[in-house]
């Protein structure tokens, strides 16, 4: 018996449930924690596709750093009043579900179509080792890779400059 489909559906269901939790949870802090869970299960999906490096990077960067920062910032707020717009009544929740369903149809249908078209290619790229990934990144996609790096650096410096201009702990003291 092939165990792969069972594991896949298990993780897919968990990803879907936790992603729904992000939208439907009444408190923003629980939403952020659901987001972390989504990242965790998503990396599980990458892992069973033999994309171990991608799975680990997903965990390290998103679950381990980005969402930790989200949670950290959320913890600093007084969340008692923030609960209101998030919980809403049944009409708000129903419309949320409607939007989710619409988004799902808009994104999932073209994706499945495209996946079928390039299925054989996708299958060939399974088991992509970290070494091969690195070779691709530093040869074929070197330009895009470096441009993204430069872009991120610019964003970082811009964020620091903006934060300094607006005051705060690291503001210039005049």
């Amino acid at each position: 018996m092939d165990i792969y489909p069972i594991v896949f559906h298990f993780f897919a269901a968990l990803v879907t449930i936790s992603a729904l939790g992000v939208v439907l949870m009444p408190s923003p802090i629980y939403s952020a924690l659901c987001l972390a869970l989504t990242m965790l299960f998503l990396s599980g999906l990458f892992f069973i596709l033999d994309a171990q490096f991608l799975a680990a990077v997903q965990l390290m960067v998103y679950a381990g750093a980005v969402v930790v920062l989200f949670v950290m910032v959320l913890m600093l707020f007084d969340l008692r009043n923030e609960n209101q717009p998030f919980s809403g009544n049944w009409r708000v929740n129903l419309s949320k579900l409607g939007v989710i369903a619409l988004g799902f149809i808009l994104i999932a249908l073209p994706c499945t179509y495209l996946m079928k078209a390039s299925n054989s290619e996708w299958l060939q790229s399974r088991g992509l080792e970290t070494k091969k990934l690195a070779e691709l990144l530093f040869s074929k996609h070197i330009f895009a890779f470096e441009v993204v790096g430069a872009l991120l650096t610019v964003v970082l410096i811009g964020a620091i400059a903006l934060a300094k201009a607006k005051g705060g702990t690291h503001a210039r003291t005049e």
Binding site: I29, L33, A36, L40, S43, Q52, F53, A55, A56, V57, L59, M60, A63, G64, A65, V68, L69, V71, M72, M75, L76, T130
Partner: protein, 384 residues
Amino acid sequence: MGKDIFEVGINLAKVAVIFLMMIQAVPLLVWLERRGSAFIQNRLGPNRVGPLGLLQLLADAVKFIFKEQFIPGNAAKFLFLAAPVVALIPAALAFTAIPLSIPIQVEAFEMLGKSWGPYTFQFQGVKMDSGIIYILAVSSLGAYGLLLAGWASANKYSLMGALRASAQMISYELGLGLSIVGILMIYGTFDLNAMIDMQKGPLQFSFLGSEYVIPFLPNWGIFYQPLGALLFFICNFAESNRLPFDLPESEGELVAGFHTEYGGFKMLMFFMGEYGHMMVGAGLVTTFYLGGYLIPGLTEDTVRTLIATEVGAGTVANLLTALVFHVSFIVKLALLLWIFIWVRWTLPRFRYDTLMNLGWKTLLPWTLANAAITAIVLYFARGI
């Protein structure tokens, strides 16, 4: 997992046993910490219960289990209870990927009227091709346990501790990841077992086309990356929230930081998480820089033939050989853990801004420089 029920069963039992080994090491380390700190500070430490105070551990365990379970009134109950579990899991998961000894060959044998085997069992939880990536990824989740504990306790001290903990762990993760780039470039693999294989034999390397062999030194990573080893070890202190980096629970300012509201077994689980992170850190330093389970001057075959002359070749000899190498690993691990404890009772705590300055302005540039210099030296030395 395995091709028949025997192999699957052993592999499953192995994961449980390694987890229990890790958990059982915690009381011993607590005892070592209390006695060791006492001797460092010219005291005696707990020495009343049992020989050398060893039964104190048992008394502590009983106390931890039977203490009253307390949940603060304003706490977020679910997260308050979940936080200690979340704190323990990353360390436990990471420890399964560290190779503890040589693989054990089990020869074919007869049992219950069937013939089984031969098998090869890895002396580690799970063998992975990209073990180090997995360990880094899993232990990066360690911040959640502390964050959740701090927030769910509904206590200002806890929240401050949690914020410090997460900021500190994220900052030092950069140093942690970058400090091993040098050694990863030298080994050229993410596989921890392959790394240990490369550290066999005496120190030998090729530089500018000529071969050098230094027979009296083992071929360990620390001789190639002394700075990397030091930086990695320092970052591990911050990752496991040990002094001098234990700002999240600095008792002078924050009562007990993120675990102020915790007591009994829940508190113990945070302890296990901290000691687990220490063990993972020490295990990684051993694997990268100190030759893992290898014994300098002795090869696998020498030990095996030596043992085989006593008990006869076969499964038993293989098992004993693996145990000998496992003891070697344990000795190195224990030495590093002792350094963790020793540092804790020797150095004072950092102030929060000096901690951040150390992480971002000292460790990060040094680790980057280490990686860059290693890359340049490798480029010229190996002539790639």
